[in-house]
């Protein structure tokens, strides 16, 4: 129950925090409307090799007048910026995550067909497809930010190894693992906090640390989902009986797939939130206070 409360309240809290930090973010300003802000954000995701195309989109938007026309143009360009392939390390990371997500989806779809999970299974598969696309768009946006790809992807490896170390590597371990109190503390608090703090210290920039933590959250969720999906594919409806008992084979498979998606959501939320908070706190703690000399230069009236 607390997890579901967290899942429910997190997006609301993030929206309120964003609004409080900059209320104009969601409103039109005197010189910058929503389409312009959206497009500015989108072109900041383009690789340096594509920067000229971002300026081209901005130049074109400046010559459009109707609000609907501008919004449609900006939304289309944002989609293009998110889907134009990035370069170098970011490109490799995105292709790797696309492959991992596609593999998870294929396994999931195969199980739905193989075990004839019915309408409910297909609905859950459709929801899963939407979640996958959303995750990949998020990964695509974060990977394009400067300095985020490597610490974020190393964070993924760290989080996944800790999870597998605690749960065990076999398929049975994956479907039966229920973390104890201290294990929850490690996977949901200590590891995300370590990722956020380490990324901030490495890049010496809290903003990069927060983005790396979010990237680690999304990709660790996808990676662990793939492992758990393979486990379900290996076991099917077999393996140890569920604690609840009384399930049919179909019910067992459906339940295990649902558990995997719930784990994906919980994992992502906790790593992103705790990592974000740790990155912000680390940035605050390591921020160098101005030296006395600098204070005097800034405010000569204090010189007595």
């Amino acid at each position: 129950m607390p997890f579901f409360l967290v899942l429910l309240l997190t997006p609301i809290g993030v929206a309120i925090a964003l609004y409080r930090r900059n209320p104009r973010r969601f409103l039109d300003g005197p010189t910058e409307d929503v389409p312009l802000r959206l497009l500015r954000w989108a072109i900041s995701l383009l690789s340096p090799q594509r920067a000229e195309w971002g300026q081209a989109m901005l130049g074109e938007l400046a010559h459009l007048d109707g609000r609907l026309q501008r919004m449609r143009f900006a939304v289309g360009c944002t989609g293009a910026a998110l889907t134009l392939p990035p370069w170098g390390r970011a490109g490799a990371g995105l292709w790797a995550m696309t492959g991992i997500t596609a593999a998870s989806f294929a396994i999931y779809a195969g199980l739905v067909v193989d075990f004839r999970l019915g309408t409910g299974g297909w609905i859950l598969l459709a929801v899963f497809a939407i979640i996958c696309v959303g995750y990949l768009l998020g990964v695509s946006a974060l990977l394009r930010r400067s300095g985020v790809a490597l610490p974020g992807l190393l964070g993924v490896v760290f989080a996944t190894l800790v999870w597998l170390g605690l749960s065990g590597l076999t398929a049975v371990d994956q479907v039966t693992f229920i973390p104890s109190g201290w294990q929850k503390g490690v996977t949901m608090l200590a590891v995300p906090a370590a990722i956020g703090a380490a990324c901030t210290l490495w890049r010496r920039d809290p903003a990069t640390g927060r983005r790396a933590a979010r990237l680690a959250a999304l990709t660790a969720g996808l990676l662990e989902l793939l492992y758990a999906s393979i486990a379900v594919a290996i076991l099917g409806g077999g393996g140890p009986p569920d604690q609840d008992g009384g399930y049919t084979i179909r019910g067992t498979v459906s339940d295990r797939l649902g558990n995997n998606i719930a784990h994906l959501a919980i994992n992502t939320v906790f790593i992103a939130l705790v990592g974000w908070a740790a990155a912000a706190l680390t940035g605050y703690l390591v921020r160098r206070p101005p030296t006395p000399d600098a204070r005097l230069i800034a405010d000569p009236t204090q010189e007595t």
Partner: protein, 105 residues
Amino acid sequence: MQRNRPPSPQTVSVLRALAADPARWRYGYDLVTEVNLKSGSLYPILVRLADRGLLETSWEPGVDSRPPRHLYRLTGAGREFVAALAAAHGSPRTVVRSRRRLSEA
């Protein structure tokens, strides 16, 4: 590795629109309305055409407070490609062959 896939119908529409008056520089939004494509589809096509040397770009200086505007037209290779496309009458093999020639040139 150069891929020799035939161009998509959307790409062919953009190429034909540009080839209608090959000497004229075109704005991005003009192509959006003329070809009836979304901006999210048009710009990736323009990027790919420019990467393959079929499209040349230029900047029109900004007027008043408005920023410069990007302009597009076909290169010589682009015109040759569209001519080959028209001659192929939609036969993908011929288009692939003409693209291979272009990539080898």
